[in-house]
Amino acid sequence: MSKPRNLVLLIDDEPKIRRFLRAGFEIHGFSVVEAENAADGLKIATFNAPDLVILDLGLPDLHGSETLERLRSWSNVPVIVLSVESIEDEKVRLLQAGADDYVVKPFGMAELLARCDAALRRYFKSATENPVVVAGPLSVDLVSRTVSLNQARIKLTRKEYRLLHVLAVHIGLVVTHDQLLKEIWTGNQRDNIQYLRILVRKLRQKIEADPNQPRLLVTESGVGYRLENRLETSVAD
């Protein structure tokens, strides 16, 4: 592999969590640097210029969301947050503060790697790259604005396409309700999540094999939606 190894920065105060994260990332071809508190983490982020940051929320010196804000004040580096609580408000706040995605403890390495891959892909995506986003049987051409399912073109309304487009741009990553509402609607309708729910229902009718059990356009309860890029999940995930 001639491709340079991506450098991942782990900011977590739990040594045992760092240990397995290091092992997991190294097996998958990443280089790893560790920090056990926010101050060290921000320092390393400045000097080592990591390609990816894994940030734990429960740091001893600074709350995760504040660490994220400081990092975001000068860097666009992809950040995946490790959260203990599954409180939706907290997740939404972090995503709005600039986190690319989150995983809730306990999590499997595969899940975290998938989020990292998606975040890295989005970050390094250049205009020259293939503008077609593929999610299982679905492919979305972001330039020609065409969508096909199992190689057959399907017709979407303007709003349906807009929704799919935003999700496809962030493929594999969660997109918050707010973000989707603002991208698709204008005026008062921007605040009404019911519009979004109904639109998602209709889009699922067109792209999902079973709209009642969607596998492509999945709901992140209380947070937003995600266009899945990997449809098979491993058992230990």
Partner: protein, 551 residues
Amino acid sequence: MSCSAKAKSLIYSLPLFQRLADIRARRAEAEHVFAPGFDAKPQLVMWTDVLPLLWSVGSIGVVTALLFVLNEPIAANLVPIAYLIPIIYAATRWGIWAGTLASLTAITAADFFFFTPLYSLRVDSPQEAIDLLVFLVVALVSSNLASRLQQETERLRRREREIQHLYEFSKRLTACFTISDLIDAVSHYLAHTLGQRAALFVASAGGHFESSPELGAAPPAVQESVAAMTAAVGATDRSIIDESTQDVWLLRAVGSNTVVHGVIAINAGRGTREAIALRTRRIEAVLEEVSLTLRRLDIGKAMDDARMHLQAELLRDAFHGTLSHELCSPLAAIQGSVSVMHAMPAISADERLRSLIEAVSDEVVRLDGHIRNLLNATRVTAGGLTPRLEWSDPRDIVNAAVKARAPRLAAHRVEIGFDDDLPLLNVDSGLVAEACGQLLENAAKYSPSGSTISVRTRHVGGRVVMSIVDQGVGVTPDEQRHLGRKSFRSPRHQANVPGSGLGFWIASTFVKAHDGTVEVVSRGHGLGTTASILLPAPQTTDSELVTCDDE
């Protein structure tokens, strides 16, 4: 006429004192019961017994004097009514005999002072004789009624006091955690209600009864008699006489159906055979109530339960506080490490290693579920449950619940179905999904591997109903009554199905927070269960929203 009246009064007055003595003895019994230390000697007529009679006669005298001061014609009209006042007062205050005596005195005085010829007991005019007779009848009837009223009032007052004591007793019983607490309560109750000295002997491990010194001492004769009884043989009820004081002691076993906790010895005092018998009956009646209460509570078991419950609560609170957080981190480390190992070629190539890793992973998921349950329970008990409402698709909620419980449902076939016209729900989707997941987990736990669990979501009668139907062991009517209670686990499953008893409680609490209900229907043991979450559906139609988006 007046002679016959006087004769009557004499006839009555002779046995009157005997009857009085009898009544006094009975009253003394009653008072003895409620006023500890009242020393009754029922054989003698006392000064205090004659006093009411003197008072009643005296009050008639006062009324006579007053009437006499007024001039004759007015007095003659006032006579019957004026005399009724002291008569009724005497009957109410001192009973039927005082009332009767007052009536007779009054009629004699009336005849002597106010009916012609004056100052003689003779009555000339038949009209006046009839007047006097009517007056006598009215006086007797009203004194009778008044005294009965007084008795009834007294009876009610006594009953009220008994109920009050019994209520306090039952209150004390609920706070009993040890045998000595219980016995203390019983002894306190007896002392208060019966005014009797009581001693208690607690059943020892050796099957004998040992006196508990802090709860009153019994004379040697009683102690010997109790020592001769053994719990194993069964404590038989008996009465013995303490030779030194001539007091009669009743010995009675205290216990529930299953266990004899001890023997209670009650001093029934001394006196005539009848008096003792009367007191014994009262004591027996109270003891009967005590043992009925004991039986109803099955006190031994209840106390053990209460003690365990208390400990469990303390443990649980400690767990909820910091421990659960401390468990989350190691769990995350284990789960993460296992997932890294799972991806290593050396391990994924080896079937045995892989299955071991998968087993660890499954157990971590299960442990995480338990911790989450406990955290949820804390949220509810700490009163911190405020649903974060957001319009959600019921499909997403059910799918999230099924996905979250996927490892637990792996051994079952899960069928998911939705009505086409499901409205959006304004709910905390996380809480409803958790509730649904709990019901799914129960379905998986209590139905055989390989059986089908179907999850059907319908829109019926203004409500969205999520039903989880299994082919499992079902729910008995008795279990159904206890469902929804925190930490309830059916005795049927305690030994063979793991669980904390929190799941259903969490589910129903979360659903209740949305004004919804959880219904459980089962045709009985072995016939499967249908658990449904019913949530109110909003009135607004989705069609207007749909047209808005149709561009």
